[in-house]
């Protein structure tokens, strides 16, 4: 089989060699527990604190505001449940959006069962929330606004600065799930008035199972995981030292030569979108045309279904993903595609290709060439395409 063309970087990314190299010693020789008194433990403790500094620097936070977690889902759960429980005396209302990751949505649904009220903001056809609806939704019971920085499916980037300003004016905490944004967008938590921010290392060429929650100093939040006194009594459990070291290195690398990488990725993304539209008809771009993640392409091909598209791409050595009902365990189309107003049958033909460091211009052209054939073949098989051909 030929070389894999990996275009699913929003799902996860490969570990960078430089990152692995920094991690390896902490898996073997430098295995000490950071809480231990002897120098082997101290070595690990130092490594954790250096990584914390790197993560803090990347978002203009203080190291003491960074708390390592077991990934993005844990950080989302913690931010929302932790703030909800700690501020119950102030109110029971949370505002989020309909297109959040399930780590946020299912957490909010859980809290609803515990007596909290949750407002799920609509989004427009591009996936953007309405700032006026946000302002109108805030009541004196509102304790938290949780809106994702950038969407994992359609790549739409929310007006985070405006949301932060509104939250600050109204005295409501603002959490943002920045799992897809960190490493791909420059983020300054002070400038954007962010109180809590979720990140996950495996989306920026770091290891899996490690993430962090930024918690602005002074934010009232309960721990999610009780136990030992690690992470300044806020997140118990012996630290994942190799993971933390890897996350620190990965975030540092992500913001090195940032502008250049960003420009390259945006160019490749636009080329892929343009070529698809040039060569294939009955296509729709999902998400915002410009306010979108540099590596995100999400399109719907009418009259065909996403799983059969993914299988065909896989046979051509191309890895992508889809929001089609047939690819989900629940047989429901993606909630994000439904929220931007797509009917089921259009959501059916969705394809997400998310680009990263490894992708080249040649790969883009190869993928488009393959797509043309695959889409044509599947359309020939589709009973829905007949009618269109008749009209044509």
């Amino acid at each position: 089989m030929k070389k894999l063309i990996y275009m699913d970087h929003a799902a996860t990314t490969p570990l960078k060699k430089e990152v692995l190299d920094e991690m390896l010693p902490y898996m073997k020789d430098k295995f000490g527990n950071p809480s231990s008194i002897y120098s082997l433990g101290g070595q690990s403790k130092n490594a954790v604190e250096i990584a914390r500094e790197k993560v803090a620097n990347a978002i203009n936070a203080k190291p003491r505001e960074i708390f390592f977690t077991g990934g993005g889902s844990e950080a989302d759960n913690w931010a929302i449940k932790g703030v909800a429980y700690a501020n119950r005396n102030r109110g029971n209302h949370i505002i989020t959006s309909k297109i959040e990751h399930h780590a946020v949505l299912h957490t909010c649904e859980y809290l609803e069962k515990q007596g909290f009220d949750v407002t799920y903001l609509d989004v427009d056809e591009y996936g953007l929330i309405d700032l006026e609806q946000l302002e109108r939704s805030i009541t004196d019971k509102t304790i938290l606004i949780s809106i994702m920085f950038a969407n994992n499916e359609i790549g739409t980037i929310q007006p985070i600065k405006e949301i932060g300003r509104i939250a600050k004016e109204k005295g409501v905490y603002f959490h943002t799930d920045a799992v897809q944004a960190i490493g791909h967008i420059k983020i300054d938590v002070d400038e954007l008035n962010i109180d809590l921010l979720t990140m996950a290392a495996h989306k920026f060429y770091g290891p899996k199972g490690i993430g962090a929650l930024y918690i602005r100093q002074g934010v009232k939040i309960d721990p999610l995981i009780s136990g030992g006194g690690q992470e300044r009594n806020r997140r118990a459990g012996t630290e994942n030292v190799p993971g933390i070291v890897g996350m620190g290195k990965a975030i540092e690398l992500a913001y090195e030569n940032f502008e250049e990488k960003n420009r390259r990725l945006t160019y490749l993304r636009n080329r892929l979108i343009e070529k698809i539209f040039e060569k294939i008809d009955y296509v729709r771009l999902n998400g915002h045309p410009t306010q979108r993640l540099p590596g995100n392409v999400n399109v719907c091909f009418e009259f065909i279904e996403g799983e059969s598209l993914l299988l065909s791409l896989d046979m051509a050595g191309i890895a992508g993903s889809s929001g089609s009902a047939c690819t989900s365990g629940s047989l429901e189309p993606s909630h994000v595609l439904l929220a931007i107003g797509l009917p089921h049958e259009i959501a059916h033909g969705s394809l997400r290709l998310t680009l990263g460091d490894s992708n080249t211009e040649e790969e883009i052209d190869y993928v488009v060439e393959k797509l043309v054939g695959i889409v044509a073949r599947l359309r020939e098989m589709s009973p829905l395409y007949e009618k269109v051909k008749e009209v044509k």
Binding site: S308, C326, H348, E380, M381, P383, E386
Partner: protein, 138 residues
Amino acid sequence: MYSEKVMDHFLNPRNVGEIEDADGIGQVGNPRCGDIMKMYLKIENGVIVDAKFKTFGCGSAIASSSMATELIKGKTIEEAMEVTNKAVAEALDGLPPIKMHCSVLAEQAIKSALLDYSKKNNVYIKGLEDFDPTEDVH
């Protein structure tokens, strides 16, 4: 995820297309995931001499349609009525549990096309009395 047989029938589906002067045409939809399968039959003296399909659906739906047409070609109507979704799935060396409904769609498509034939030609087909092609297949 899929057996080699499924992949083979997905990548090289047998009998894709339409039959211009079909004797029976059936279209069924999966109300759950939204897929559509259309089946065309050519029937002579109670024997299915040709079968073709078009499918808007997942890999397993396409493979099931392909296999279903293979299984009924050359068979009598009575024999075709015996082709269940299980038979289709087994002939494909199995389907993942979540994909079993795609083979149900294939069984429904055959029956729906036979029902169309029976109505057009006023022939009675045993077993179709209670068949409702719009029924939820889950």
